[in-house]
Symmetry: C2
Subunit: 433 residues, 2 copies
C-alpha cells in the first residue's frame, strides 16, 4: 500500500515552492510569488518570513516599478542568501576526480581536479583497491575545498557522480563498469567516513541532468541529457522530475543496441551505442583502418588513458581533411543520433542536452546528426525537440552532484514524495577537521 | 514557477491512499489500513466514514481473527462498493473497436466488439472520414454497454485507447499512424459530443500499462508494458507512476531503430522495431521468401486486414515444422528482445509485461527471447527483471482505458499533482438517452 502522511505537508510543500521561486528568480517580490504560485499573498508572506528567519532568504532594496502607484507600498526584492547553504560535488572518472563547491544560488565558488593513480589491478575485486585509492584522493580534494571556506558548517553534503550501475539497496554500492577496479564499492559509506559529511550518490549522467534542471529558470522541462565521456550515458527529466527508475540506474542510453552486428560491449551485449560511438571505439576503428603505426604518426598515443586526447586529435584531423577520421566520427555521430531518436520516442521529451569531454572536438557533428535524426521523432507534429550543448562544461557531473545535494536538502518534501525510495543520504557525523 | 496549493491537500491525498488500500485489499480493516498507510487509526476512521457516506466503501461482516483477544472489539471488513463507479473503455484498432464496462473493483461487467468499415480513403484527411465512421460505431457500442446498466448515472466516463501519436494541446487529437485516415482527429471532443460522457484519451500501450497497474495488488511496481498488435508500442510505469512524457506520447518502443539497414518504417525512419517485428513485417518477409503463391498455399490471405490472422497462421506453421516461418518469427522475437533490453536499460524497471494479439501464437518465442536478452540488463546484479504475459487478453487497451478513468477520478489528487498537464477530461454534458 502507499504510505500516507500525518505531517503538515502543505506547509512544507509550499515552502519548497516559494524557496524555489525565489532562487530561480532573484529580485522577485512577495506579490510576484503569489501570482506565480497561486498561493495567497498572506501565505507567501508567512513563508517568506520563515525563510528569512532560517537565513535562507534575504531582502534587498524596495522595488520601484515603472508605473507603480504613487503612495503604493513598494515591493521588496527577495533573493536567496548565497552562503546559507553550500554543497560539494565530485565526479569520478577513469583518470581523475573533479570537484566543485557550489553556493545556494548555484554559483561555483571553487573547482578542483585530482589525478587518480593507475589502478593497481585492472580486474579489480570486491574490495576495490583502485576505488579506495580514488576515494582517498577525493577526500583530500573535499578537505581542500571546504578549507577555502574556513569550516564545513554551511556544507550540506557531498554529491558524488559515478558511472553506473549503482545499487541503492543497503549501503550504496557502485560497480561502475567504466572504472577499473570498481565492483560493489560502498562509495557513500567510504566518503562519509572519510569526510564526515553526508553523502549522496547519483549516476553521472543523471547528476548532470539534475544540474541542468537546478540551474534552469524555466519549469516544466522535459529533456534527455546525453553524456559522451569515456562512456556514454544519459539522464532523463520529465516535467521537472528526474527519472531514476527502479534502482537509480535509469538513463543508460549507452547500452541500447545500435549495431546488431557490431562489436562486443563491456556490458556483455553486442553492438551497444557505447561500443560503437564512445571515444575509445572511434579511436580503435581509426587505428584498425590506417594501422597502428600510421595512427601514431598521426599523433595518437593509443593508450587506455589517452583515449579522450586521441579522440580530440581525430576531431582536429577530421577538420583538417583526414577522411578516415571524419568517417569514423560520422559513424559515431549517426549512432548517437539513432539511439537518441529511439530514446526520445520512448520517453517523449522536448529537449536534448549534449555534454561531456567526448564532444570537445566532435560536438557539432554529433549535435547536427542528433538534430537531423530528431526530425523523425514520433512527436514531430506535436512539439519540436530542441538540441543544445550543456553549459556546464566538463564538470557537469560534479556540478550536478552538488546540485542534487541542494535539491534534496531544500526541496526535500516534494522530492521525498516523488522519489520515496531514494533514501541514500547518510546522516551527518562530525565535521571535517 | 511551480504552482503551490491552498487546498486541504493532505486530506484528499490521504483519502485517495485509503480508498486505494480498500480497493486493492478487499476485506481489510481500519486497523490494517492504519498499519499499512502509517496514518493514525483516528484519521483512517474519519476517512472511511466519509468514503462510506459517499457510497464508495461498504462494511462487511465483523472479522474474527484467529487469536483475537476475547472481548476485543471485532474488526469490520471493508470493501469498495462495486457499483459505486463504472467506466467504459474503448480501444480503436484497424479492424474493430473493442469496448468494456468496468466496475469500481475492476471487474468486467460487459465486453463488446464492433467491426469498423474499410476506410473510404486510406490517405485520410484532416477531417478523417474513417475516424468519423469509427467514432460513430464506437458511440453505438458505448450506448449498448451503458444500456445494460439501465442508465449512465454511475458511469464516470469513457476511456479511449488509440495508437500514437496524440496531441494533448487544445482538443485532444489523435494522428494514429497505424489507423488509416486518422490525422488530427479530435477524438475526445467527438466522443464527448456523441455519448454525452466525459472522455479521457490515452496512448494504447500506456492504457494497457495503467490497467495492469490498476488491477495489481502490489505497490511500488516499475514495469515496461510491451504491446504487440498491428503495431508495436509500450507503456512505462516507474514506482507506480505512469511515464507519459512531455505530451502523453511516451513509450513508443516500436520506433527504436533495431536494424539500421532494415526496411523503411511508417514513421519515416528506417529499421524501427515495428518495421522489423510487427506481424505485418513477419508476414511480408515470409511471403517474399517463399513467394506469394506458396504463401497463399500455406493458408495466408496476404490482405491488409488479415495480417494478424496470417501471423497466427505462421505461428501454427512454425510449430508444425515450417522453418521459414520459424526463422522469421525468431527474427522478430530477437528484435523485440534487443529493443526491450535497451529500453529497460534506459528506464530501469524490474518487470516486463507482454500483451497483444501479435503474441497469440508467437508469445512464448518472444517471452523467451526477451528473458534471455534481459540476462544482459545493466541492472542484472542489482535486481532481476521478470518477464510475464499480461492477464488482460486482447482487450488490454480497452480495460486499461477504463481503468485510467477510474484511476483519474478516484485518485485525482495525487495523479493531478504528478501529471499536472494532463487535463484532458472534458466536462460531462447531458447523459446518453
Amino acid at each position: 500500500m502507499r504510505r500516507g502522511t500525518n505531517l503538515p505537508w502543505v506547509g512544507d510543500y509550499n515552502q519548497a515552492v516559494v524557496l524555489d521561486g525565489v532562487r530561480r528568480h532573484p529580485g522577485t517580490s512577495r506579490t510576484d510569488l503569489a501570482a506565480a504560485t497561486g498561493l495567497t499573498l498572506q501565505t507567501v508572506s508567512n513563508i517568506v518570513r520563515r525563510l528569512i528567519e532560517r537565513g535562507l532568504v534575504q531582502e534587498g532594496e524596495p522595488l520601484l516599478r515603472p508605473g507603480a502607484r504613487a503612495g503604493g507600498k513598494p515591493r521588496t526584492a527577495l533573493a536567496v542568501r548565497p552562503g546559507a547553504a553550500l554543497a560539494v560535488g565530485l565526479q569520478f572518472e577513469r583518470e581523475h576526480v573533479d570537484a566543485v563547491l557550489l553556493d545556494l544560488t548555484g554559483d561555483v565558488l571553487a573547482v578542483d581536479r585530482e589525478p587518480l593513480p593507475d589502478p593497481p589491478d585492472a580486474t579489480g575485486g570486491a574490495t576495490g583497491g583502485a576505488a579506495e585509492a580514488a576515494v582517498a584522493r577525493a577526500t583530500a580534494v573535499v578537505r581542500r575545498l571546504v578549507r577555502t571556506r574556513g569550516s564545513a558548517d554551511a556544507v550540506l553534503g557531498v554529491g558524488v557522480a559515478v558511472p553506473g550501475p549503482l545499487d541503492f539497496a543497503g549501503p550504496v554500492r557502485s560497480s561502475a563498469i567504466n572504472l577499473p577496479g570498481w565492483r560493489g564499492v560502498a562509495v557513500a559509506d567510504m566518503l562519509t567516513a572519510s569526510t564526515g559529511l553526508p553523502v549522496l550518490v547519483e549516476n553521472d549522467a543523471t547528476a548532470a541532468a539534475v544540474g541542468d534542471l537546478w540551474r534552469s529558470r524555466r519549469v516544466g522541462r522535459s529533456f534527455l541529457y546525453v553524456h559522451v565521456g569515456a562512456g556514454i550515458g544519459g539522464g532523463v527529466v520529465v516535467r521537472d522530475e528526474v527519472l531514476r527508475g527502479e534502482s537509480g540506474n535509469a538513463g543508460e542510453i549507452g547500452h541500447v543496441v545500435v549495431e546488431p552486428a557490431g562489436p562486443p560491449c563491456s556490458c556483455g551485449a553486442v553492438g551497444c551505442l557505447e561500443a560503437v560511438a564512445a571515444p575509445a571505439a572511434v579511436v580503435r576503428r581509426y587505428a584498425e583502418r590506417v594501422g597502428r603505426e600510421a595512427a601514431r604518426a598521426a599523433g595518437l598515443r593509443l593508450a587506455e588513458r589517452s583515449v579522450l586526447d586521441d579522440h580530440d586529435r581525430l576531431g582536429v584531423r577530421a577538420a583538417a581533411g583526414d577522411e578516415v577520421a571524419a568517417a569514423e566520427l560520422r559513424t559515431a555521430a549517426l549512432a548517437v543520433a539513432r539511439v537518441v531518436l529511439g530514446v526520445v520516442n520512448v520517453v517523449d521529451v522536448s529537449e536534448v542536452v549534449l555534454g561531456g569531454a567526448g564532444l570537445r572536438h566532435a560536438g557539432e557533428r554529433v549535435r547536427d546528426a542528433v538534430r537531423a535524426g530528431l526530425g523523425l521523432a514520433m512527436t514531430r507534429e506535436v512539439h519540436p525537440v530542441e538540441v543544445r550543448f550543456s553549459d556546464a562544461g566538463e564538470q557537469a557531473g560534479a556540478l550536478g552532484a552538488a546540485s542534487a545535494v541542494l535539491h534534496e536538502a531544500l526541496s526535500s518534501t516534494w522530492v521525498g514524495v516523488h522519489v520515496p525510495a531514494r533514501e541514500i543520504v547518510i546522516s551527518p557525523v562530525a565535521p571535517v577537521h
